[in-house]
């Protein structure tokens, strides 16, 4: 790592892990955080290269527990290189590679390959997630011990819910010894069979088969009971329904070892976006409807569900934000709604899109940053997500006032599947530092850095 010293001066340093929210300088040396000092004259100490962050927010680099890198197997959608660059663009310095690759990350050999290539080619840290079952087929447990030894941070058959309740029970139980969470995509596929969006008025108007919220809620409830039975760690990915939140609250009150994440899109978009008018409800369904970039699993829910997850994130019931970044190629999205693949390209819009809730007074900026830093780091139980002395110098610098219009063709990601095309957002990540090195810097921004 570079021997040079960096001083990020004059910014509003928000480091929820340390309870810090004040204007200060962050000193970096040899790729690690050296100190947070009271902001001096606006200049850097002798021997330090200066990054002027006045007017900006300086936060720990974001940590994502839910990323699809598509590599190996679907490199036309994303690669470790493009995915980690997209992460850096969005302020993320740690991402987690979901195992639904081809081959599946269900053996040390595949995980080792991903980690080796991520270390060589990636611009940010990649932590792998192992499969729960062999081939993510839900029949036989994957070699979870071997996967743990190779460094996975949890287990998931993401996209394929563990339908067999006994297999889920055994997976949870087996993982206790490993100390790692089971991350189960909670969806009873039978309840919403054939559904392509959230059930409700919009689905009915569009004639699209709907998945009721209860398809998620029912499996969340099952998983919580099984976690209670086994005393295992359960992490609920992309929680999205009011019913799931009721079950989650009750389980947490009973002491179940559970954490939950919510995605930026489930916090900010509802099923009305399927009409293709950025959430507007049309009098007449037009040819912009059936916007396949809104197709995601879990589906975009009702307004009431969105309000509920915002409140739950704000009050801490939902622990963290995770992106579920799911890049897809044009051929997967330029088609009918039924044919379209599930997934939204999120990394590069994640912070700004949720920042809308800060602007709207529904979420504090400190809680937003906590849910992207200290929160996920606590689930990982790793020295990440904070600017504590000696931690890796991973930093996201945000310009809260900078407005920008989402143009996916300018994404670092290889894919462009965002429903936010043309939407104006604020709170832009302008610089990302990983291990003391700038891995992303936005050029030509008003009041830019030196």
């Amino acid at each position: 790592m570079a021997a040079r010293k960096l001083a990020i001066t004059g910014g509003r340093v928000i480091d929820p892990a340390q309870g810090i929210d004040r204007v200060a300088d962050v000193l970096i040396s040899n790729g690690v955080v050296e100190a947070i000092t009271d902001s001096s004259s606006g200049s850097a100490p002798d021997g330090y290269e200066q990054i002027d962050a006045s007017g900006k927010i300086v936060a720990p680099g974001f940590v994502d527990l839910h990323t699809h890198l598509r590599d190996p197997g679907q490199e036309w959608k994303e690669t470790i290189v493009t995915g980690t660059r997209a992460a850096a663009h969005g302020g993320f310095t740690t991402i987690s590679a979901m195992p639904n690759t081809d081959p599946v990350q269900d053996s040390a050999a595949v995980v080792d390959d991903v980690m080796r290539r991520a270390a060589a080619d990636g611009v940010v840290r990649v932590l792998p997630i192992g499969a729960i079952s062999v081939g993510q087929k839900g029949k036989q447990l994957a070699p979870m011990g071997e996967l743990a030894d190779s460094g996975v941070i949890g287990f998931s058959d993401d996209g394929n819910p563990v339908a067999d309740a006994n297999l889920m029970r055994q997976a949870l139980s087996y993982a206790v010894e490993l100390g790692l969470p089971i991350i189960n995509h909670a969806e009873d596929k039978k309840i919403g069979a054939g559904g392509v969006m959230s059930a409700g008025t919009v689905a009915t108007r569009l004639g699209l088969a709907g998945v009721p919220a209860e398809a998620e809620t029912a499996m969340v409830a099952r998983d919580l009971h099984l976690a209670d039975l086994t005393k295992a760690r359960l992490h609920i990915p992309h929680i999205s329904t009011m019913g799931s939140l009721v079950a989650l609250r009750s389980a947490k009150e009973c002491g179940v070892d559970v954490t939950a994440e919510v995605t930026p899109h489930h916090l900010t978009l509802n099923d009305e976006w399927v009409f293709g008018l950025h959430g507007e409800i049309p009098a007449v369904v037009g040819s912009e409807a059936y916007d396949t970039n809104t197709k995601v699993n879990p589906p975009l829910r009702s307004r009431a569900d969105v309000e509920a997850v915002i409140e739950a994130l704000s009050d801490g019931l939902i622990d963290i934000i995770a992106t579920d970044h799911a890049p897809h190629a044009a051929t997967d999205k330029v088609c009918t709604y039924n044919e379209a693949a599930h997934g939204i390209n999120v990394l590069e819009t994640a912070f700004s899109s949720v920042f809308q809730l800060v602007d709207a007074g529904k979420l504090s900026v400190v809680r937003l940053i906590e849910s992207l830093t200290a929160g996920p780091a606590a689930i990982l139980k790793k020295d990440l997500g904070s600017l504590k002395k000696g931690f890796s110098a991973d930093v996201a610098i945000i310009d809260p006032g900078s407005k920008w219009v989402v143009d996916p063709t300018k994404f670092e990601s290889k894919s462009v599947n965002s429903p936010l095309t043309g939407v104006e957002l604020a709170g832009r990540v302008v610089q990302t530092i990983y291990q003391g090195e700038t891995v992303f810097e936005l050029s030509a921004v008003a009041g830019a850095k030196q």
Binding site: T201, L206, G207, L208, A209, E339
Partner: protein, 362 residues
């Protein structure tokens, strides 16, 4: 029969040959804006619907002639692209096009490059490159014609998309009812059947309500959307405001002016929506006893194909009140009116943009 005088958009009678004046009046200014596609009826005003139905009156006269031919769409190419099996709708469109002199090419999914894995997008682009005027699309996925309309200059006609819409079926149903009862405002329409999966139900609810009729549906609770409640009237936020959901079939058909039975599919039983077709027939099937609850001169309709003995008893299906065959006959006339409105010279924006003879539709 009514004797209407207007059509959609500007007429081009000089090119229209021997099509009667009431099918395509010359140069009549109307409230309608020339439209490029027919995707559903939700974006048509009642006046525009009326104009199409008026036009279909003239078309019906042509279909009854000894020599059924006009050159109205001579030189136009219409492709029917059916990704689902269909007899009546496909043949109806084909006949409608051919009577008006268009070249009609039928593409079916099983016999096309689709079966080789070609994407819908590339199929549409390929056909587009062949300079076609209209694409008549039947597709199992809701919204497919909307998707296609974003990728072709041809006029797109929705011939049924998934569980979403079937606008020409609704137009022919309106046409059939209008020919019997005239003004539809205040008339009671009972639709009995699989509302959840039926594009005919959805388009007909919208269509009859636009014309001022009161629509009531009846079906098992498993075959309506979860957010609808039997025994209630839907609010405007549903997109089907004013729709009455009857508690039972007798309530729906009571004093009805029109009783419409919808096809019930074996798959609904297999998927657990129904205990059995036998029980469906017993509780929701339209038979003479239920027709007796309706008005004496009530019409019995069915979009076909019928499962006689299941959703409709054979005696009433072929009885005096049944207009099922009339619906099929009217389907050709209505589809002629639709194709003419979209494809006739000077009608489509594509032609307006590329043809200097397109008249005043700049």
């Amino acid at each position: 029969m009514t004797n209407p005088t207007t059509t959609l958009g500007n007429g081009a009678a000089a090119e229209a040959g021997d099509v009667p004046a009431n099918a395509m009046a010359d140069g009549v200014e109307t409230s309608a804006t020339p439209r490029h596609h027919l995707l559903d009826l939700d974006d048509l005003s009642s006046a525009e619907i009326t104009e199409l139905l008026d036009s279909a009156e003239g078309m019906l006269e042509i279909t009854g002639r000894d020599v059924r031919k006009t050159p109205a769409l001579r030189g136009k190419t219409i492709i029917t692209m059916f990704f689902e099996n269909s007899t009546r709708t496909r043949v109806s469109f084909e006949q409608a096009g051919k009577i008006m002199g268009a070249d009609v090419i039928n593409v079916t999914a099983s016999a096309s490059s689709v079966s080789k894995g070609e994407s819908l997008l590339n199929t549409v682009k390929t056909l587009q490159a062949m300079q076609i005027d209209a694409l008549v699309v039947r597709h199992p996925h809701s919204g497919a014609p909307y998707f296609i309309s974003n990728h072709t200059d041809a006029a797109v006609v929705n011939a049924g998309d998934g569980t979403h819409a079937h606008p020409t079926q609704s137009l022919l149903d309106l046409f059939t009812v209008r020919n019997h009862v005239g003004d539809m405002s205040g008339k009671k329409i009972a639709i009995v059947g699989d509302v959840l999966y039926s594009r005919v139900a959805r388009s007909n609810i919208i269509a009859f309500q636009k014309m001022g009729a009161e629509v009531t549906v009846s079906c098992p609770n498993t075959l309506i959307p979860d957010e609808w409640q039997l025994g209630s009237t839907l609010g405007d936020e549903t997109g089907f405001g004013g729709l009455r959901l009857a508690n039972n079939v007798d309530e729906a058909v009571d004093s009805a002016d029109v009783v419409m039975a919808l096809r019930i599919q074996q798959e609904r039983q297999d998927a657990g929506h129904l205990p059995s077709l036998r029980e469906y027939s017993d509780r929701w099937g339209i038979n003479s006893a239920r027709m007796a609850l309706a008005n004496d001169d009530a019409l019995l309709m069915h979009p076909g194909p019928m499962n006689e003995g299941v959703e409709i008893a054979s005696d009433v299906a072929h009885g005096a009140q049944s207009v099922v065959e009339e619906q099929v006959r009217n389907g050709v006339a209505v589809r002629m009116a639709v194709l003419y409105a979209l494809c006739a010279p000077g009608k489509s924006t594509r032609i307006a943009n590329s043809d200097s003879n397109a008249g005043d539709e700049a």
